[in-house]
Every structure is written in structure tokens, then in C-alpha cells.
């Protein structure tokens, strides 16, 4: 089991500049074939008004982490452990570091409070704008719905606001587009419509799950640019999920690296890129082709394959692919989170946690 001591006191603590704090999150899927620990020990903080990028290979639990925050994990998945502390602003109040702190993991996924937070305080956009929008409803209809779910406004007012936000996200001729069906729009416009829908209620946090992966390079750049602009305008925090380190470099203030459902390293973007501490982070960075090398050179991919989710490796989940694997240690002990400095954390036995280094650990049985 993941060894991480988090005090679950009556009034949860949150750093003064933190908006959301995920602590030792565990989300499991009990399937017929076995238990899939999609997220097993994810911890990170998102600071107010900043962008956190979550990186990792596909299948490492990024999407499930994001969905766990909103409690919209597909059945039979369930959040089984950890805390998701969120600082809830009173609506209409400024974005100061006040407001109540709620543990989202403890809320009833079907309850009214969770529903108010979804879309209202935390909004989410997805990878596939085509399939993520209903094909038989106009985009206007879908945006107006989002507004009216959280604010008590008339149809006309809601429509005006929808057109306004469509305009804001750069949809040309927003009034006419309001009545378009998703299949009548290009991929880029669809994603803009998705963003408009997400921003229509002025959320404090926007979760973007690989929002540009399905788009071509030019459109991708435009959407990223748009998101940065909107962040300046709206002042919201962004949790940006991607497997593209280029995007990370462009967007991130902070970075979290995930591997097999675990956050293996976290820190600010500069230290992650210039001083990576975890062997997995280093391997990821090595796989980026250096400028000037020419596109034809072979990428330095990470050796080996992501292990089967039913059959997680003992000890450090990365040990079967790690270049610095220490036999007898790494395959026995789950690396504990080691704080390097205030915003830096790494989970690798090279940095401590092995018996020789004197730190007490639980052994994975």
C-alpha cells in the first residue's frame, strides 16, 4: 500500500495559495479480470491562477485522476482512498484565498453539492470535441444548458451570455454559430465551443484532458494560445493533461509526472526540465529530439512497455524499465514521496526511502 501520512483532521489544511490539493488519491476499477489500480498514490497541488501540467505515457491514469476530482469516474471505478481538498469561493466574491475548504473525495458523487461544483467551480474539457458534444443538439443549446444549470437566468440572458462567450473564445460569427450542430464545425471550432461551454460559468479551475491531441499542429497552437489568453482574462487555474512535453514547456507553471497511477515527480516547470530527479522523468526528457538534430533522427524512446494494469510490478512500478534499477531494493520497496524542497517531490529510492538510507518504509506485500 501507499505509505503517505496525511492527517485527516476536521478542518483540512490547505496552503494559502493552493486552490486544489490532491493527496494520496486512489481510484480503482474492480473488473471481472481483476482489480485495476488506475490511480494509486497521486499527490499534487494546484495553485490559484496557475497552470499545472500532468504528463505521462498513455494509460498511466491521467484521465482517471482528472475524473476523480469531479467524481465522474466511469463505473465500476471508484475513489477508494485519499483526499481532494478544494477551496470553494463564494460565487460572485473575488478570487482571494478565502472560502470554505471541501474534500471532494468525501462528497456523494450524486449529491447536489458535487453537482454544483461540477461545471460551476470546476469545469472540464476533453480530448475529442466531436464525440464530447452531443451530435443532435446545437452548440448553443449545450452552452445555454451549462449556464442555466448553475445560474438562475432567463433563456434570453443565457443566450446572450453564450454568444458572448463564444465570441470570446474566438468563434467567428458567434450569433450564427450558436445554432450550428457540432458536425457543421471544424475540429478547432468545436474545441473552442467546448471551451466556451466550460468557461460559461466562470470556473475557478479548468481541467483540460488532452484538449489538443486530436487537432492538427496549427490549430493546436491556436488553442493553446487561446487558453493562455483566457487564463489571463478569467484568472482561473488550469490543470492541463498531456503526453506532449512540448506543450508542457509552453503551458506549465508546475508539472506533475505520472507513472502507473502514481505521481513520481512534481515541481515547477524550470526545475523539472533542467534538473529532473526521477529516472522516468529523465527518460521522458531524453525522448524529445533536440533542436537542430533534424527530424529524421530516431527518438530515444523509453525501453520496454508499460506493464499490464492487472499485474503491477512489486516495489517501484518503474523498476522493470529503469536504468538505475537496484535489484533487491527497487523491486521490494514502494518508494515513498521525498520532499526535495517546498514544491519539489520525488518518489525514487535513489533519493531516500531505501533501508540503507535509514528511512522507514512499508514493504509492498
Amino acid at each position: 500500500m501507499v505509505a503517505e501520512s496525511v492527517q485527516t483532521s476536521a478542518s483540512p489544511e490547505l496552503d494559502h495559495d493552493s486552490l486544489l490539493s490532491v493527496r494520496a488519491l486512489q481510484t480503482h476499477f474492480p473488473l471481472d479480470q481483476g482489480l485495476v489500480k488506475a490511480v494509486d498514490g497521486a499527490s499534487f497541488d494546484i495553485r490559484q491562477g496557475t497552470t499545472l501540467c500532468v504528463v505521462g505515457e498513455s494509460g498511466c491514469g491521467k484521465s482517471v485522476t482528472a475524473r476523480s476530482i469531479l467524481q465522474i469516474v466511469d463505473r465500476p471505478g471508484r475513489v477508494v482512498g485519499g483526499e481532494i481538498l478544494f477551496r470553494r469561493q463564494r460565487r460572485g466574491a473575488g478570487k482571494g484565498p478565502d472560502g470554505e475548504i471541501v474534500d471532494l473525495a468525501a462528497l456523494d458523487p450524486k449529491g447536489a453539492q458535487m453537482r454544483r461544483i461540477r461545471g460551476g467551480d470546476i469545469a472540464m474539457i476533453f480530448q475529442e470535441p466531436m464525440t464530447s458534444l452531443s451530435p443532435v443538439h446545437t452548440i448553443g443549446n449545450q452552452i445555454v444548458e451549462a449556464i442555466q444549470l448553475h445560474e438562475n437566468v432567463s433563456n434570453r440572458e443565457a443566450k446572450e451570455r453564450a454568444v458572448e462567450v463564444l465570441h470570446k473564445v474566438g468563434v467567428p460569427r458567434a450569433k450564427q454559430r450558436f445554432d450550428s450542430y457540432p458536425f457543421e464545425l471544424s475540429g478547432g471550432l468545436r474545441q473552442r465551443a467546448m471551451i466556451a461551454m466550460a468557461l460559461s460559468c466562470n470556473p475557478a479551475l479548468l481541467i483540460a484532458d488532452e484538449p489538443t491531441t486530436a487537432l492538427d499542429v496549427t490549430t493546436q497552437a491556436q488553442i493553446l494560445e487561446l487558453m493562455r489568453e483566457l487564463q489571463d482574462d478569467y484568472g482561473m487555474a488550469i490543470m492541463f493533461i498531456t503526453h506532449d512535453l512540448g506543450v508542457v514547456a509552453e503551458m506549465a507553471d508546475d508539472v506533475v509526472v505520472m507513472y502507473l497511477g502514481m505521481t513520481v515527480e512534481r515541481g515547477d516547470v524550470v526545475s523539472i526540465f533542467h534538473d529532473p530527479q526521477h529516472p522516468y522523468t529523465r527518460a521522458l526528457l531524453r525522448s524529445i529530439p533536440t533542436m537542430g538534430m533534424g527530424t529524421r533522427t530516431r527518438l530515444n524512446t523509453i525501453k520496454g512497455m508499460v506493464p499490464d494494469p492487472y499485474d503491477r510490478p512489486h516495489g517501484c512500478p518503474f523498476h522493470n524499465r529503469c536504468g538505475e534499477y537496484m535489484p533487491g531494493t527497487c523491486d521490494q520497496i514502494v518508494p515513498p514521496p521525498i520532499d526535495l524542497d517546498e514544491h519539489r517531490q520525488v518518489r525514487c529510492l535513489l533519493h531516500g526511502g531505501a533501508p540503507s538510507s535509514g528511512v522507514r518504509n512499508e514493504v509492498n506485500t
Binding site: 475524473r67 469531479l70 465522474i72 466511469d74 450524486k110 453537482r115 454544483r116 461544483i117 461540477r118 461545471g119 460551476g120 469545469a123 472540464m124 476533453f126 475529442e128 464525440t131 464530447s132 458534444l133 452531443s134 451530435p135 443532435v136 443538439h137 444548458e145 451549462a146 444549470l149 448553475h150 450542430y181 458536425f183 457543421e184 467546448m194 461551454m197
Partner: protein, 333 residues
Amino acid sequence: MLKYIARRLLVMIPTLFAISLASFFIIQLPPGDFLTTYAAGMGAQDNIIAREQLAVLEERYGLDEPFHVQYWRWISNIVCCGDFGQSFEWNQPVSSLIWDRLTLTMLLAVVSTLFTWLVAFLIGTYSAVRQYSLGDYFWTFIGFIGLATPNFLLALVLMYISFRYFGQSVGGLFSPEYQNAPWSLGKAWDLFQHLWIPVVIIATAGAASTIRIMRANLLDELHRPYTTTARAKGMQEWRLIAKYPLRLALNPFISTVGWTIPTLVSGEIIVSVVLDLPTTGPLLLRALSSQDMYLAGSFLMMLGVLTLIGTLLSDILLAWLDPRIQYEKAGRR
């Protein structure tokens, strides 16, 4: 939309032609015809009037002439003057025999369709949303039984039960006092009271397969990303299901109507025979076995035509419900 309908109507014309040709061909298949059988039966009696009548009929329909001439004569009379020919057995124009019965057949088929939808929609939705619940298993099981029970058998069993336990025979569509009465509110109510038994029987088989389709469609849609999007907006679960997956599951559901209509008409025909309803079934069966060719042929053709119209209506409904369909059609043009 109009363009789409016009196109569909145009496509229908060759199909109509094929239906009429096939109907005429099929009733021509049996060796001999009504007149020869009839004449042989009269034999020595040498009824001069009847013989003359036969000759007139033979002349009129050109029963000795080749197939295409006969067909042409038949179809041109239908198209130009609504004359479906003469029923040999009833000695009446076919058109005076078929319309009442076809109307009741259609009424039964339409009411059964609506009933099937209602049942399939409710149960299908329930089964999908509560997948693997006790209720889901129960309805799936009932559905399988419905699928395995032929209509006529269900009719027999129901008749048996009502006779055995309620001491009355079900059957017919009207009580004796209304049998030949002109249409009135009382007659309509009487019809309604009799209608439900055949409707339930016909709908059961249809509903069984439709429930399964509805359930499968809805299960598909429940896992689509747009459902997650709606959930992420903070929508209430039941409202979300009604607005998105249910609405989208409706499309393939409607498109199945096109091919449930022939099944329902089939079901209606055989159930009417068992329950002896004054609809197409019993008369068609009789006309077929006595080789009353114009009567049988007209029934066959009209059943085909009505089915075709039903399919067309369901396609139009679908195009209206799903904006993508017209878009695709327009894109292809």
C-alpha cells in the same frame, strides 16, 4: 427536408412497380385458375348463364393471354380507375372487399406499433440504466420468451386462458350488436375494447426484439463521451439521461421501425386468422386457397404498398429527428 422527401418518393416508384409485379407473379404461380376449377365443378349441369358469365370474365381479364398482357390490364385498371378487378368467389369488385379490411389491418398494425414502442421504450430504458439488476434480468428473460413464442401460439394460449378462466371466447373486433352497424361513438368504443387482445399479442413479439435493440443502443450511448461532458457540467443524472443518451438512442430505434412494420403486418395477418378478426388475414388465406387471384393479388400488393409507406414515414421521422441524416444526403448530392 422537402427535397429529401421528394427523393425518397422517387426511389419508391420502382419499388412499387416491383411489388405489383411480384404480387401478380405469385398469384399466377399455381397451376390452373379459379375459372377452370369452377367450370370443372359445374360439369354436366351446363348452367348456361354461368357459362356465359365465365366467358365474359375470361374475355374481360384475358385469362388465356400471356402474362405481361394480363399484368398490364390489371395494373393499368388499378392505376387509372382504382379498379382492382373482380373477386370470383364473392362475385363482387375486389375494391368493395379489401378497403374495410385493409383499414382495420392498418389500424391494428399502427396501434400495435405504438404499443410496442411504448413498452419497448420504457422497459429498454429501465434495463439499460439498471444494467444487470434483477429487473433487467427479469425483462430480458421475458423478452426472450416473447421472441420464442410465435404470435399464433400466444393467441391460442390467450384464447385458451380467457375461455378457461373467464368463460368467454375472445375473437372478433366487434360485439354482435355492432357487427354490421354503421360507425358511431359506441361502435368505436366497442372496437377499442376488443382491440387490446390482438394488440397485446402482436406487440409482444415485436416488443421483445425492440426492447433488446433499445437496451443495446442506450447502453452504447450511456458510455459516449458527451454523456461524460454533460455529467461534468453538473447535470442531474436522470435529466442527463433523458436529454442525451435517450435522445440519441431514439434514432437507431426509429430506424428499426422500418423493418418492424413488415413483421407487425405479418403478425397481424396470422393473429387475425387465429382470432378470426374481420381484417385482411382470414380473407387473404381464403382467397389464396381458392385461387381467387384478383382478390389475393390485390391484398398482397396493398400490404406491400402499405408497408412501404410505413417505412417511408419512419425514414422521414428519422431524418427530422437526426440533423446528420439530411446533412449527409445533402453532402452527397
